[in-house]
Point group: C2
Chain length 216, copies 2
């Protein structure tokens, strides 16, 4: 599949590399076409990897990954262009972390909104699926880094988009019976607000390679 | 021990009954001394159980449980009286759930505050420990309702208060190695914001008898 990845940070690089390793063609998008991180990544990732602007990546991809910082994501997708998003699955793995008051950051957009909802509202023709934001980027693409059983969540309004994302997650190594559908895109606020607990659990686990499991 | 319990709802009743069963003397506090729920509870719970106003319960208890609705808790503790809280461990198990816009409720006090912090700020001489709010009230006092290993969290500024609460939690059945200290009282916002995910996981688990486990 041709996949566009927004964001050149560690998350975008991890997702992009995994997608290339799985045989997809990946274009990494950034604000300017000559972004150094993207150039380095594309050079190392091989012939199936390319780079460009957000709009280039969005136009290229049949499916898109938002790996930008959550507080910038709405602006990034505007730059990518609504016409390049329409009808496409947009996998939103972002978190809105605000470090302006120091660490630990405040998390999310409050308790009545989320980046996932914000993107879906602004781009009603995109098929936004929130997932993967509840784990470290290395765990996103290699869940076996966390031993034993642990869980992943998907949120979104479009059932077939969620099914497509489930398949992708399974190709990343997430077992089908540990991917839980939390509901429509308003459930994105649940997984985004969870990041506040994730940050504290990181301190307990003493490693970013952890996750939670639903026990019932 | 003599323990005061604020709140006559299902949470206060579950906590109060457990404490009585463990041999503590428990006074349940409510806004008016003739609250019917408290009267019924005290009648059924036996001679170690009594009831009164919030101030009565606060004055009676050597340790206090806040089992009121999170959005009302600050007002409840003001009614109980700062002089009745000073120096005491206040176990805050509340959640701020706002149903004014319908269900599901919005959760918490935003992303930069929590009920736990609010109470500790207003009553600096109280020793507030946030815990138990991450599970259903039946699970709070009987963690074996959820099979297998799962975790509980404590948050607070006072180490000896957290140690006291750990002992209480162990007496409720929580294994010592599954009680994690998340840090000072600012970590209360992490466990309060988690409730948004908890509400969605309830839908997945199809039962309120569930919890999460940290896997690392």
């Amino acid at each position: 599949m041709r996949i566009g990845v927004f964001g050149t940070g560690v998350v975008g690089q991890a997702i992009g590399a995994k997608l290339v390793a799985l045989g997809h063609e990946v274009r990494m998008g950034s604000r300017s076409a000559d972004n150094e991180s993207a150039a380095t990544w594309a050079g190392e990732a091989g012939p199936q990897a390319s780079r460009g602007t957000f709009a280039d990546a969005a136009g290229f991809g049949e499916l898109l990954f938002n790996c930008t910082a959550g507080l910038a994501s709405l602006d990034v997708l505007r730059t990518a262009g609504a016409e390049n998003l329409a009808g496409k699955v947009v996998v939103d793995v972002s978190n809105a972390l605000d470090f302006s008051q120091g660490a630990p950051p405040t998390v999310g957009l409050g308790n009545a909104d989320s980046v996932g909802e914000q993107l879906q509202r602004e781009f009603p023709e995109a098929r936004v699926v929130k997932t993967l934001n509840t784990v470290n980027c290395e765990v996103m693409v290699d869940p076996s880094l966390v031993p034993g059983e642990h869980d992943m969540f998907v949120c979104g309004n479009d059932e077939s988009a969620k099914a497509d994302v489930r398949s992708l997650l399974e190709s990343f190594g997430w077992p089908a019976n540990h991917i839980f559908d939390l509901g429509d895109i308003t459930s994105a606020r649940a997984v985004e607000m969870y990041l506040a607990l994730w940050l504290r659990l990181w301190g307990v686990a003493q490693s970013p390679h952890f996750n939670i499991r639903l026990v019932s």
